[in-house]
């Protein structure tokens, strides 16, 4: 499956709290129940920490959880 762009905002000016390095969009696997989704999320270039912005956690991801729990 292709990698989905899921964020509207640009997070390239954010830095990792642990390393102080910038975040860059990178492909990430999200797992819900036993479904996998390939999405693009901001990740720390040094330690690989993945940022899941609030807009995503409270928006699309919450919708997805509800959809999958129905099935």
């Amino acid at each position: 499956m292709s990698t989905l762009k899921v964020l509207d905002k640009d997070y390239s000016d954010w830095v990792c709290a642990a390393c102080g390095k910038p975040l860059q969009p990178a492909p990430v696997e999200l797992e819900y129940l036993d479904s996998l989704f390939n999405v693009e999320l901001p990740c720390c270039v040094a330690c690989g920490m993945v940022l899941i912005p609030e807009e995503l956690a409270l928006g699309k991801m919450a919708d997805v959880e509800r959809l999958l729990e129905d099935k």
Partner: protein, 254 residues
Amino acid sequence: MPTCPHTAPATDSAAGPLWARPAMRAVSDGIFRPGGLALTDRMAELAGLAPGWTVLDVGCGTGASVMRLRQRFGACAVGMDALFSQVRPQEDRNATAAPLPLVIGTAEHPPFRRGAFRMILCECVLSLLPDTRAALATLHALLAPGGILGITDLYLRTGPGSPNGAASPSSLPHGSCLGWRADRRAIAEHLHHTGFTLRRFEDHSKQLGELAARLVLAGESPCLLSPAGACGDSTGPDTGTPGYFLLLADRRTA
């Protein structure tokens, strides 16, 4: 609810068919139906599809399943679709490869002789047709004796109100892709009346949920994906729970 645009009839909806939207293109890799090629493989394997079988894919779209059946199973597979615009892109993308045998035609008036096929696939297509029963009768005629029909489509996992209370297939709004609005029992009866014997029925509703989830991640409104097409009452007792099934049926000769 994702539409299944494989042979989506021309729609006059202002929003346009779901498959034409960028989100649907982004999530489906060109396979616009739940389960994608994995369910195509599953049907072929369950049917025991052997090299050389003549197979017709009704509503072939861009021919992804036809190519799969030819390459992976050695089938003599051909595709038919009502919409020329859906048939063409595969040929454009594979200009150097031999063109796939895809033809324009409808399930009501297929351009093939009787008994021409060993197996027929209807992937997320049948419930979109205006007269499901007439289409099944035509497919019956296209199958050779001993032939197998493979269907994937939407259905009611639980009927409205009660488990067996599914509405009659003919009450399905045309082109809604809400499946037959029939439950498993009603689908089996439908097949029986058109000369088929149900051999296997599997629920693959998880695939429907995953496709819907990808659409939401790509930016579609979850409201569009709910069974009733509206927010709030998506799993209410009056609409039934939508699901996705795979079935194999044997052509009866009697």
